[in-house]
Point group: C2
Chain length 423, copies 2
Amino acid sequence: MNERSVDELRALHADFSAQYDALVARGLKLDLTRGKPSAEQLDLSGGLLSLPGEGQFRDQAGTDLRNYGGPLGLPELRSIFAGPLRVPVAQLLALGNSSLNLMHDVIVQALLHGVPDGVRPWSREDTVTFLAPVPGYDRHFSICERYGIRMIAVPMTEEGPDPEVVRSLLATDPTIKGMWCVPVYSNPSGVVYSERIVRELVSAPAAPDFRLFWDNAYAVHHLTDARPEPLDVLALAAEAGHPNRPLVFASTSKVTYPGSGVAFFGSSPANIDWIVRNMSVQTIGPDKINQLRHVQLLRDEAGVEAHMAHHRAILEPKFNAVDAIFRERLAPFGAGSWTAPAGGYFVSLDVADGCARRAVALAGQAGIAVTPAGATFPYGDDPRDRNIRIAPTFPALEELGTALGGFSTAVLLAETEALLAGR
Amino acid sequence: MNERSVDELRALHADFSAQYDALVARGLKLDLTRGKPSAEQLDLSGGLLSLPGEGQFRDQAGTDLRNYGGPLGLPELRSIFAGPLRVPVAQLLALGNSSLNLMHDVIVQALLHGVPDGVRPWSREDTVTFLAPVPGYDRHFSICERYGIRMIAVPMTEEGPDPEVVRSLLATDPTIKGMWCVPVYSNPSGVVYSERIVRELVSAPAAPDFRLFWDNAYAVHHLTDARPEPLDVLALAAEAGHPNRPLVFASTSKVTYPGSGVAFFGSSPANIDWIVRNMSVQTIGPDKINQLRHVQLLRDEAGVEAHMAHHRAILEPKFNAVDAIFRERLAPFGAGSWTAPAGGYFVSLDVADGCARRAVALAGQAGIAVTPAGATFPYGDDPRDRNIRIAPTFPALEELGTALGGFSTAVLLAETEALLAGR
């Protein structure tokens, strides 16, 4: 819209204002905020509600799963996910109901005890720094903020975090102890890390106790047939001489039920020993009956794939709708630049610089809740105030269309306001 | 046995040695170590294996429990346990699968952030000390050891930790920030704290951020009709001007399934706000479907009571067997002094000073696993080497009898050995 005259902009502003007033008058109450599965998706795992079934409480080895013990998790479940996550079964633990909880607890243990290869607990360092590729996931950033861990934003490229920036920061700043990574269908950009980038991340010189927090949340959450070959980050790291660098996290939160799923932790033998020792003081074991439910529901790797195909059938039209509506509503005005991810849960939208907060506020006043602008940056601070995370999975398709249409109006109004103010 | 002559002791030693050799020859493999429910007890909660049932995933308010959210836990479940635990529903959270995990995490948060009323994180103190009533629970002690928290043993009386010792330690040592308490059917002594003791604990002058870790693990685990009236520790503490002192923990681990149960946290509004703020960074919410299962299985407070009566029917004969066998085997020789608890999971046995380790070792060599001597004391250090925790719940009644008989032989042999060595 930048090339238009002031008069043209005023006419557009009047149009968009009228559309916006009509939108407000509709009194909508729609939500595009969080990456939650829809009820239709949750129905795919309805079996969990009556599994494992009367009298079913033993694993293949005959262990009574109702009792204490089994801190590593059910071997059968670990073996189902070992393939998709590219972690050997012996180095893959099936634990509680939340991978976020695991990431949090690993950071807490690193603060209080340090990690293998480290010389002291992170809390004894003057400064602990994490690299945070942006745009990224706000709950990662919240953990760092809560524990006083400094974050440095690193720009994302089409194939992962900018490797030159990462290499240079790691080489010059020994306070960098961690880096957030969502290697497959990154939150929110949808970027899949290339093998070249992963090799860079595992090989770049860094502090000996530098750790990649490899949040592989969307490893099996494809939206197209063009599936990235899963990369074996543990093998690549070992090959690069840094076997203990990656800490792999994943869960079934968006495979079965959020909150009632199973989280996984995978890493080198030394890191597994470390976490098992930590956990031995913290808990007597995970919910193995729920793990048995998951084994029965998903059966094997092919079962996971078939299950995820059903998710895709529900989600693909929603992601297509985001693209179609933005093309129809934003593109004609040159507004917005958005991703068309091949998997995961989000679309990342960049609006004109300085317009994200205003667009989100306008949408909110019209009853359309959107993830707060800035949430995809550490400290909520998007220096260009342009990135907005769109979460299209939860609303029904028709509602989604209404919400995205209304949100587009808010974006267009915010951008014309800003352009007029600048003239 | 102390009054016997050396010759009498030699004869007894020969007898016990012969019995012991015969025991070893049987090649037993029995386990009296951990407080695990038996398979028969686990069968009482068989309903959980097919609950909540197809299409059942909403709470009374209509919320879809399969999705993210609900960090405080299911109100219906919190209300079932509010009565037995004497915690108002609004101040009682239903969380993950392990109360030990909650205690651990509360200590970690206290270390990293401090607690309400505190002036700094506990990790910034030169020394943090906990009071540990002895005999006590080894997993409590392990948490302290792992985080470098110093423990001071406090002797138990018939009605709880010795209040004069506690009062005097608290008054003179401001590094004391916590105290482990199992107020009902204490692990392992079975002692029920009296109202007088509880009033002492909540009112004694102490550091402002001193906390009672009130592990109410056995609140509903009665073995007789003589049930202690539940004490409202939160109300008593508020009355005493220390509303934030008690942190109440409990779980259904020994009501339904260990590992697949639900843990509870109850405290003052200020402490609840504190833990909710901590958890908001750690997790997106507990397994609410499992909480729904528990609501459906237990239904209400009367349902819990009926359920626990079935446990009692299984457990009472086992506890009676402990008493009967020790009366038959140990009492005639004046050996052993043991508790006859009215609830809970353990019997506490004191043998002659200096004989506990040897008795446990002898039993172990005969294939009878007993909780390591010393485990009931901080740092595994029982200064008189006399206390042994007996866990009679897991073995079938007949096996239990065999194990206790064999173990009695080990005790008698250890004691005669020691007496002969001392002559």
